[in-house]
């Protein structure tokens, strides 16, 4: 199968694809774009965490004192992202005080002033004065210690032991554990969920991109009449194999470039990820992902090449490729839906069905522990799909590339299968 003719064809495809502007742009730009979005977010977040001066005014002196000690313990005070200034004064004094501080608030010398009135001990209502009062991140941080102090103060008069107070103060903390065979039960973060999203998206993008690239070259060869020259040297089967392998290698390379940051993060300790974002992926899984992706490329690039061979005009081909697009898009949406409930039955079936297995199984694997037999069945289904579609696709391709003139109907295409060419 891999004779010198096929190798020459693959080399030409690679030279053309790898050096094409579209490929370079997509390969380099996509990670830059993705990391760029993350980067911009962190950058923006780093601004607000620079230094916020928050004044906390309580009418009760005891509350002010308690706050001083509780807030002093908080991490955000220790790393001085928030500098609290705590004082106590009466409501009337505060009304004057806030007026005198108006300029500081407007110039953002002080980020905000929190006022805890006496009534807070009954209804837990506090007031926040700021130029930007909807600073959720900041308030989220500060409301915990205030709550703590208020609870303590409230129950102090009720003679309840501090142990029990501690319990009352706790909020429910759900830790997720991933149960997998043979391994110890591990705490599970969001890392793999993000990975599943990311990989589904990249798979979807890459299959469509490689597929339509090949479709374009097939159409180009057909409409430029190069195909006849080629067929005088190579068989249509060799031509098709060369094209598909050329695209598959290109796609694999692109995916490897895209995934290398993820693999680097997962396999080395060079980058510190927060614990709940830890990625749990083994080398074997990466290998599986690439094999699966390769099979997927064979299937879908093959289908796109076949569609390309039917048409002479790129616009006709655009409308003719929807059946193939659906075969990619439906599994993609199943993968995405699985993120809400990884064990949904549609996904379970799809992960072992022809065409869908390529896209659904990797996403499923990232989220739940899939039994080995299912992975093997899915891979087998993919291999069988390749073997089943290629004789048909090859036949249509053989007839299609030499057909010029009128745009054929689907019925005519089916008739081609009976042609002796």
């Amino acid at each position: 199968m891999l004779n010198y003719r096929v190798i020459a064809l693959i080399r030409r495809e690679l030279r053309e694809k790898l050096l094409s502007k579209a490929f370079i742009l997509m390969t380099v730009l996509l990670p830059v774009l993705m990391f760029g979005i993350f980067g911009v977010q962190t950058f923006i977040m780093s601004f607000e965490s620079e230094k916020s001066i928050i004044e906390i005014v309580a009418t009760s002196e005891i509350i002010a004192e308690n706050l001083e000690s509780v807030i002093g313990e908080s991490s955000f005070v220790k790393d001085s992202t928030i500098i609290p200034i705590i004082s106590s004064m009466s409501k009337m004094e505060f009304d004057n005080y806030i007026k005198s501080k108006e300029r500081d608030l407007l110039s953002e010398k002080i980020t905000g002033i929190i006022f805890i009135p006496e009534s807070a001990l009954i209804d837990k209502r506090v007031k926040y004065y700021s130029k930007t009062p909807k600073n959720l991140r900041l308030l989220e941080r500060i409301d915990n210690p205030i709550n703590q102090v208020l609870i303590e103060r409230y129950f102090q008069s009720k003679n309840i032991p501090t142990e029990e107070l501690k319990y009352a103060r706790l909020s429910v903390d759900i830790s997720s554990f991933k149960v997998s065979e043979g391994e110890e039960i591990k705490e599970e973060g969001y890392g793999n969920l993000i990975l599943a999203y990311l990989f589904s998206f990249l798979l979807y993008l890459s299959l469509i991109m490689m597929g339509s690239m090949v479709m374009q070259t097939v159409i180009q060869e057909k409409s430029n009449r190069i195909v006849e020259v080629l067929l005088s040297s190579v068989t249509s089967k060799e031509l098709m194999i060369g094209k598909i392998l050329g695209a598959a290698i290109t796609g694999l390379l692109q995916m490897a470039i895209w995934l290398s940051p993820v693999i680097l993060v997962a396999s080395t300790s060079w980058f510190m990820l927060p614990e709940n974002l830890a990625i749990d992926i083994t080398f074997l899984q990466v290998a599986y992902l690439l094999v699966n992706f390769f099979l997927g490329l064979l299937i879908f690039v093959g289908l796109f090449a076949t569609v390309g061979s039917i048409f002479e005009d790129p616009q006709d081909a655009q409308s003719g490729m929807w059946p193939v697009m659906l075969l990619i898009m439906i599994p993609f949406f199943i993968s995405i839906s699985m993120i809400e409930n990884p064990s949904n039955p549609v996904a379970a079936i799809a992960s072992m069905s022809p065409f869908a297995a390529v896209i659904v199984m990797p996403a499923k694997m990232a989220m739940i522990d899939v039994p080995l037999w299912q992975v093997l069945v899915s891979t087998l289904v993919n291999i069988l799909t390749v073997m089943a579609i290629f004789p048909i696709a090859g036949k249509i391709y053989r007839v299609g590339i030499m057909m010029t003139g009128k745009k054929p109907s689907w019925i005519e295409v089916i008739k081609w299968l009976k042609y002796k060419y």
Partner: protein, 307 residues
């Protein structure tokens, strides 16, 4: 010595019989012309020879061996509808086409550069194909059929769209290859080229081979009692003359067949006596164009009669 042989080749597309039991052979070191009108079945025959179309029946042999993929790599093929990768560079294109024929390396590169020089394209070596003129693209395509040093050249409508200088250039290259013992088969509907270049011809019409053999033999056989005449004046008086077997008017020349050898001199005298200005009077000669129209035309007449 027999080189390339086509035996009982047939191909139908639906109800249309594009090629019907076609057979002919091309000896080594000769130039063969496959002649026919547009749509006669030339391209289909050639595509079957190149294994681009699968024949319904029949086979192609080269040197007595049935043609397979190995045969294809020994052939240089120029299809009627030319095509090159527009974005590829000239030299790159040539090397690619040689590579899929199994030839690569320094020698091929050197040869490619030699050919480019010969065809006055040396300075365009690294230009993209799309920047070349149509004629230059044709030349690149022609070189790509030669570069792997083929045993057989199959050229479909070689001279279409070429200027006289380039036509001459290619003609010389072809004659040179013939000298080196290669087989050259080309299809054309331009008879004057075929007449000058071909050793052997086959005339194909409606998918059937009507005439096949060495051009000299065919001419000798057909030219007896035949006069090729160019004239000014009126020759209608010949129509009912008892010594004339038939007259074919080809526009700029007239083919006249007389019943007996001795009538040739009588005909000339008759023309002079009737004040016809004779520009050319070729006895025992027939042009390929005459043969072609005679062969194909008869069939058309026959078809009309049958219908």
């Amino acid at each position: 010595m027999v080189g390339l042989e086509v035996k009982n080749l047939s191909k139908s597309f639906g109800n249309l019989k594009a090629v019907d039991n076609a057979s002919f052979s091309v000896p080594e070191g000769s130039i063969f012309g496959l002649l026919g009108r547009n749509g006669a079945g030339k391209t289909t025959t050639i595509r079957m020879m190149m294994n681009i179309y699968m024949p319904d029946s029949g086979e192609i042999t080269f040197g007595g061996i049935k043609a397979g993929p190995d045969f294809n790599s020994k052939v240089g093929y120029l299809p009627e509808e030319r095509g090159l990768y527009k974005k590829m560079k000239v030299l790159e294109t040539l090397l690619f086409f040689a590579e899929i024929k199994g030839k690569k390396g320094r020698n091929v590169t050197r040869l490619a550069k030699e050919y480019l020089k010969k065809f006055d394209l040396a300075d365009r070596m690294n230009s993209k194909i799309e920047t070349l003129s149509k004629g230059n693209q044709q030349k690149v395509q022609f070189i790509s059929t030669l570069l792997h040093d083929p045993e057989v050249l199959i050229l479909d409508e070689l001279f279409s769209g070429l200027d006289p200088i380039n036509t001459n250039l290619m003609k010389n290259v072809i004659l040179e290859l013939k000298e080196r013992g290669k087989i050259i088969l080309f299809s054309t509907h331009v008879m004057s080229f075929a007449e000058k270049m071909c050793d052997h011809i086959a005339i194909i019409d409606s998918g059937k081979i009507k005439l096949n053999g060495s051009l000299t033999d065919i001419k000798a056989e057909r030219s007896q009692r035949n006069i090729s005449l160019n004239y000014k004046g009126d020759i209608s008086f010949l129509r009912n003359n008892s010594m004339i077997e038939n007259i074919s008017d080809y526009g700029n020349s007239v083919g006249i067949k007389v019943k007996e050898e001795k009538h040739i001199q009588e005909l000339l005298k008759l023309l002079v006596d009737n004040n016809v200005e004779v520009n050319k009077f070729d006895a025992n000669d027939i042009s390929l164009e005459d043969i072609f129209i005679d062969t194909v035309g008869q069939e058309v007449a026959q078809e009309v009669k049958d219908a």
